[in-house]
Every structure is written in structure tokens, then in C-alpha cells.
Symmetry: C2
Subunit: 309 residues, 2 copies
């Protein structure tokens, strides 16, 4: 029942000697969704002991190199390791156009299929869905078409209370209906309300990944109340005008958006290479939104599973 | 008068959590020649404090990803930093074909010119030359067209002995001729042999980079007596048949080639990811050629400048 984000790269375009370009992994119940794939992502996956064969879906926010230059190396390594399952990559329609020739050239005997899914970053769409999770795009405001990604667990079925089922002699075939919220009618015709037989399931968890973007209140409605939000904070407040002109955000702006969107926790990252000491980022964001943490390579942010007992 | 090789990446195709794919830098009197450029090379350049603007020439041995996937990130970073001088890249003719579309897409406002120099890996050619150094290709024996690179300093002019010039009252205009090896004739007609007026210059230094390749004695004549040779050693001896079938070498074979070519020092690298402990590589190579060292990230192999005093 894990739901956690591992930071593989925290930096903006120019890597430093210690900070990698953007890449993260969302672990949703041991299924791993890779989000962006800067140069060195495969190395960072190894360092963080994330098994390659758990990754079947990769989401690319936009086609700046610091968010996708690690793709070809990762695909090539997957192939050298003899991977079999399809690999699904979600990104702007140009992604396939720039990647396919590289794959064709460098991975001539590729052992698996790379399936590109073209997304339209300017609108919010559900681009992935399975029985446990959905992924929506979040339109970002950047120099080129860019989107964030909103991962939401699906609502779980209710938990039945075993003792009450026994007491009312509920037959097995009725249990799925009760889990779905229906009342139970005994053989004597007594209506037992669902609330007597069940406990609510743990609330679905959610993660919003927002990078790269200028400060943009238009996304607030979509991400309102998420458990965890990553928001880029390329600059400190002193560079607000530079942030604006390059379509990036400051640490304080990230905090402000977190506050207005009533998210529960904020991670900031995508730090400009000009900064060595990152503590001021945390301070400036926390001055607006106290529950802020810095994205740093290897950090894991977990959203606990809290059943309503 | 530096002549040293810095190892940026020591591993073969699949990077480990600590070992990077192939990349090296030859520092020849503070001019830096980048040799191969696996993923993460720009990060390793930063870690090893090699200034980006010193790199004007990049040599790519062959078009397997672990030798060139770092190129696009490096070029992109150079451009973001506003580089101006041309960047010269030497490689198989296909290199431009696969790189140019990436450069065109990801570096739209590139600030400098990337000049591709097509090389024919199957024969030995001088592909670069200036007043101090020359670079020749060394044909390798690999699954795809591959060459090594032989870097040779040009012979230096002789050192004049100041006291002897004074003694014979040699005029300034004659000094360049004496440095070139000519005798001096005094005003009285006495012939002073050049050996009395000069000391020999330090011998030119040389570095042979040999990767990837099966064991191949055909290159011995070309590399005979070099000061330093890097030779790939993907496998230990126990995997000699695997080395043969994949067109790679074992540690012992690298040592044997060093011995037969009478090189002065051997570095081995391009280790298969299957090996964690690299000491057996050194032992097996040293059993044939004692002056062998392991390529490890961050190691610097210097060939000292030894003037003949």
C-alpha cells in the first residue's frame, strides 16, 4: 500500500557535480511510474535500488533536454537486459519524432516494444488509468508546451466488519454488494444500513507534479487538496523578474500556490545551478507554506496509508 | 607541460551505481581532448573540475550508446552557457546523422557551431594536427566500425645552452637555426657542432586509447612503445570465449598486447557490469604486464615531462 515519491534529480538545466536534472519515481503499491528522465536517470535508479523491470510507464512533462536526455540510455539499457514487456512513454507528440530515430539506430535488436502516447499539454486529460490509479495532465505555463501530472488513487471499496456480517448471517454472495455501499436485507426483511456493516476505506491518495512553470493560479482548482505537491522553484525571490521572463517560479511562489491550493505537503525542486546552498529555498517557501521540503537526490516522500479504523 | 589522462567513466554498456560509461580527457598542456562521451560525462567533467570551455575537440570511438549518449547533454549545456568557439567532433559518418536532428530540436538557439569530422574507422589516418600534437585513428576489431585514437606530441626543438651561446658570441638571429639542429660557424670560421650548443629536447609523449576491441595484434606496429596505453578489458580470463564472441578483450589479453607492443604503462577499463570487485582484472593483466593500473572514475594518469638535462 506504498505511495511514495523518490527524488532522482533535483536540479534545473545545468547539472552540478552533485545534483542531477529532473527525474522522480512514484511508487504506487510497488508499481513505479517514472516522471521525467534527465541525463543520468538510469544511474540514479540503480543508486536508489529501483528495479528496472518495475517501470512500465514514463511520463515526460516537456521536451527540454534536462527532462528527457536520459530516455535513450534507459531504453538502451532495458534492451541490453532483455526486457520483454511494452514500455509506455507519455509526452508531447514531438517526443516520438525525436526518440524513434535514436531507438532505431542505437537499439537495433530491441527486445521490447516502446509505445509512445501523444499528449496535449495545453489541456487537462486523463492519460492513464487502471483499476488502482489515474493520471491526469496539468497544463503548465512554460516557454514550450509543458504539463504536470496528477496521480490519484481510485477510491477503495469499504471494509466490511466481520463480526457484524456473522451477526446478521450475511451470505458470501452479498459481501461484494455491501463493499460497494448497499444495505443488507435479512431473511426476516430487516434492513441493516450499510454503515452498521462497514468501515470507510482509507481515502485515496494523490500526488501533483508541477514542473516547469511560471506561477499560475489557473491550476489551483485541479490540484486542490492533494496530499503531496511537487512544484518547481528554480529561483529565490530576489530573482522574481528572471523567473517571470524564463517562465519559472520562485520558492515563495511555490509556497503561495501550495497555500492557495490547500495541499497537505509541498516539495520544491528544479533549483538553478547558480545556487549552492539550498536552505534559503526552504526558508522562503516555508515563510508562506510551512510544510515544505526540499527535493534532494535520494529523498523519499511517503504518503502513509491511513485506514479509517 | 602537462600530459595526463583523467578517467571520467570506466564501465561498459550498463552503468553501475558507481561506475560511469566510457569517457576520458587527455590534458595536453592545458588543452583538453575529450575521448568518448557516455551518459553523465558532463557531470563527471564538473566533478573533476575540468572547465567546459577548455574542450574544443571530442573524439568518438564508435556509435554504441555507452560511448556517445552524453554528447547531446554536453552540447546543450555548452549552448546554455553561451559558448562561442566551434566544437569539433570526430566520429563515424553516422554520428552527424544521428546527432544533428537532436541538436536542431533541443538546441534551437545554439550559441556556437558544431563541426562534425567524419572518420573512417577501418584505416589509420591522421585526423587532427596542430603545432603541438597529432591524433591518428587506430582501427579496432569490434561488432560495428570502431577506432581507437593515438595522441602524439610533436618533437620539440632542442634546448640551447645559454653559457655556450655566450662563449661563442652567437647572435640572436642564429638561435632558431641552432634550435633546429644546425651547427654554428664563428666569425673566425670555426665550426661549433650543434651538440656543443644544445641539449636534446624532452622526447614527445604519446597516448593510445584502444576501445572497444577484440584482441588484435595488427595494431601493435602502430602503437609500439607508447608511453601510455588504455586498452579495454571487459572480461576476466574465464570469459575469454564470451570476449571473443562479443568482440571484446580480457584483462590478460590487454596485458599481452601491452607486452608485445612494448608500451610503458597500461590502463585497463570498460569493465563488464557483472563484476563488482575489480582487483582480479589488475592481477590478471599484471601477470603478463606488471605496469598495469585500473581505470577508475577520477583517477589521473600523468606522463611526466622529462627534459634531457
Amino acid at each position: 500500500m506504498q505511495f511514495s515519491v523518490t527524488i532522482l534529480g533535483s536540479n534545473s538545466a545545468l547539472p552540478t557535480s552533485e545534483r542531477f536534472p529532473t527525474a522522480q519515481v512514484l511508487n504506487a503499491s510497488e508499481r513505479f511510474f517514472l516522471i521525467d528522465c534527465g541525463e543520468g536517470t538510469q544511474l540514479q535508479l540503480r543508486r536508489n535500488k529501483i528495479r528496472f523491470n518495475r517501470i512500465n510507464h514514463i511520463f515526460i512533462s516537456h521536451l527540454h533536454g534536462d527532462h528527457c536526455f536520459g530516455l535513450i540510455g534507459l531504453i538502451s539499457t532495458f534492451s541490453l537486459l532483455g526486457r520483454k514487456p511494452d514500455l509506455h512513454i507519455y509526452g508531447h507528440e514531438d517526443l516520438q519524432r525525436v526518440m524513434q530515430p535514436q531507438i532505431d539506430y542505437f537499439c537495433r535488436e530491441i527486445s521490447f516494444k516502446v509505445v509512445f502516447h501523444s499528449i496535449e499539454p495545453s489541456k487537462s486529460d486523463v492519460i492513464y488509468e487502471d483499476e488502482k490509479i489515474s493520471v491526469e495532465t496539468i497544463p503548465m505555463k512554460h516557454r514550450i508546451p509543458t504539463c504536470g501530472f496528477l496521480f490519484r488513487e481510485k477510491p477503495r471499496k469499504k471494509h466490511v466488519i466481520r463480526d457484524m456480517l456473522d451477526f446478521y448471517q450475511v451470505p458470501l454472495k452479498s459481501i461484494p454488494l455491501i463493499k460497494n455501499g448497499e444495505d443488507f436485507i435479512t431473511s426476516e426483511g430487516e434492513v441493516v444500513p450499510n454503515e452498521k456493516l462497514t468501515k470507510p476505506a482509507a481515502p485515496p491518495r494523490s500526488y501533483a507534479f508541477c514542473s516547469d512553470t511560471a506561477y499560475n493560479e489557473k491550476i489551483i482548482d485541479q490540484i486542490r487538496g492533494v496530499d503531496l505537491m511537487y512544484h518547481e522553484a528554480t529561483f529565490l525571490d530576489e530573482k522574481e523578474s528572471l523567473a517571470k521572463s524564463t517562465f519559472h517560479s520562485t520558492a515563495r511562489q511555490a509556497g503561495l500556490l501550495a497555500l492557495k491550493a490547500e495541499v497537505k505537503k509541498l516539495i520544491i525542486g528544479h533549483f538553478s545551478t547558480r545556487y549552492f546552498d539550498l536552505d534559503p529555498f526552504q526558508q522562503q517557501a516555508q515563510s508562506v507554506f510551512p510544510n515544505t521540503q526540499l527535493a534532494k537526490e535520494g529523498r523519499i516522500f511517503e504518503i502513509p496509508y491511513i485506514p479509517n479504523l
